[in-house]
Symmetry: C2
Subunit: 178 residues, 2 copies
Amino acid sequence: MKKIIYYVATSIDGFIAGPNEDISGFVASGEGVNTYLEDLKDFKTVIMGRKTYEFGYKYGLVAGQPAYPHMQHYIFSLGLQFENQSSQVHICKLEVDIVKDLKAKSETDIYMCGGGKFAGWLLDHELIDVVKIKFNPLVLGDGIRLFGTSKKPHQLKLLSSKAFEDGLTINEYQIQYL
Amino acid sequence: MKKIIYYVATSIDGFIAGPNEDISGFVASGEGVNTYLEDLKDFKTVIMGRKTYEFGYKYGLVAGQPAYPHMQHYIFSLGLQFENQSSQVHICKLEVDIVKDLKAKSETDIYMCGGGKFAGWLLDHELIDVVKIKFNPLVLGDGIRLFGTSKKPHQLKLLSSKAFEDGLTINEYQIQYL
């Protein structure tokens, strides 16, 4: 059984984006960002919600194509359809068994890249194993929360922590489901 | 001019307490907590909101007496009154000039110990200089936010970061007011 790792950037007050999906205040380059990009090479499977996939369009992603060339993409959405769909891109229903099946079959641990709503659903169903947070040096005050509207508390275990000169601190936590 | 340092424990999703002021999931002992207690010795002045002062009653604080024996206490409240009031305990109106006066006159940097509402007011008036966060290994999902209902974004500069075996990571950030 492979792990789902929610690897995500947040402000110190728990937002993964500001209002209107604004991420302009997040650290975009430097040693911490390079560590994150290096870590992504370990994943051959990525899961995400529809909004997160579509967010990529702003940065040049072509609809139906992979955002990460070396990964198989599983996008959880009811209505998404593409004219040209890469064989690396799969549309999935939001069902617990589908996620469990991916965990059983993935060649590597699974990169969960967002967004907050999908993360909250996965957390509520106890499907996320590890949260790896890039704490960014900013306060956002408003926007999209780390786990969307999920309200259930969970204890974590700190696995590792590293601070970088660009202001990022990358902390890795295991979720302790009771 | 002395600094106001907001030294506070949060969950990884930005809550300083859960619903009903619940802090039972926070790390209560260990190397990180000891570092925090040691750091408190450097402050001779503490400021806080009324609710934070009254929260101390649950833990044996006697109304009108200091929560930290070696500090002068400035509690920001409109209506608070005590029958027996220590000479170390002062009630202040929530006014910018009063806070600035404290920053000018305090013998040491000022420990701001909460809560979220007071922190948000101070942040909105650009009165907090440093945020020192004890990131606790837990997700809360709901409760009192780090800066209450304040919604204004701010860039920070990471000054230091240290992780501890008890699961705490203490990060110190300077607020960069534009």
